[in-house]
Amino acid sequence: MSTELWYALVGVVLVAVSFGAFMAHTHLFRRLLAFNIMGTGCFLILVGLAQHERAPDPIPQALVLTGIVVAVASTALALILLRRWFAATGRTTLPEEDDA
């Protein structure tokens, strides 16, 4: 197994684990953490698998740079909405997803 394939597989595990957490959690903040880890796993697959049995490929690396900026923009937007929502209602979950 090449280093690249190994990290792609680590990416697979990260995506699967964080997807599970994304579905299991109702706390919006935790779902956001899961989204970020899922994104990172996805990026590892993108670069790792493309470079497996190949020379280092700058194209997926550049795509990941774009992806990281998009992810941080989305995360920031979600956090702002979440903080507003929390300030207005005192909740950290969506209305239909109260466990209590």
Binding site: A16, P58, I59, V72, A73, S74, L77
Partner: protein, 231 residues
Amino acid sequence: MNRRRVFTSVALSVGLAVMLGGAVLTRTVPPFDLAVDLAKGIPQSGVTHPITAVLLQFRSYDTLLEIAVLLVAVVVALALRDPQGAHSAAPESVMVDSVITTPVLASLTLMLLPLMIMTAVYLLWAGAFQPGGAFQAGAVLAALGILWRVSGRRIGPFATNRWQHVALLSGFAAFLAAATSTLLFGRPLLAWPFSYAGLIIVAIETVLTVSIGISLLGLFASAPEPVDKRA
């Protein structure tokens, strides 16, 4: 958290792992090799670092839209903290001050200030031929701003300051202008003539660095204020 939800999630997670794992392990070497095309294209791109060439030449359109994404996030952030906005009625009395004011942090920030600016400039300059570039440099600038703010210094309310507004926009506006200008000369969008390409890219990266830094900082600073002093 109920049992059924956890069980479903675990099942989904395992299913996804099997699917993805199967796909990753059965992958064969692809028919196209863009890295070869890329190596051929770099001498015509005006820069030597391949990543910069991809981000600001071959796939510069992606980068343009990506800056637009960042701008949208900032606009929404500003919209939701606008004192005249729809949410001004939301009670914020529950919030307390989150500013950490330890003297150590404050003096550390002062010491770090020139160092971080230097780092940002270095990263920007390095981007032309080795790892680095506008995004990393912008992030360092933003980090500087965040440290500045966390250490108790005020940057001022973001939405009201017209000047910051313009700085925020300048990166995207300059990029957009540079992208569109080529159409006037009958060339495709973003097709800069070779002799100017290097210069244009450096200029765009410089403006973008400041703009990205301010945007990222704006996303941080325009989160609802810990204490709404105007209220």
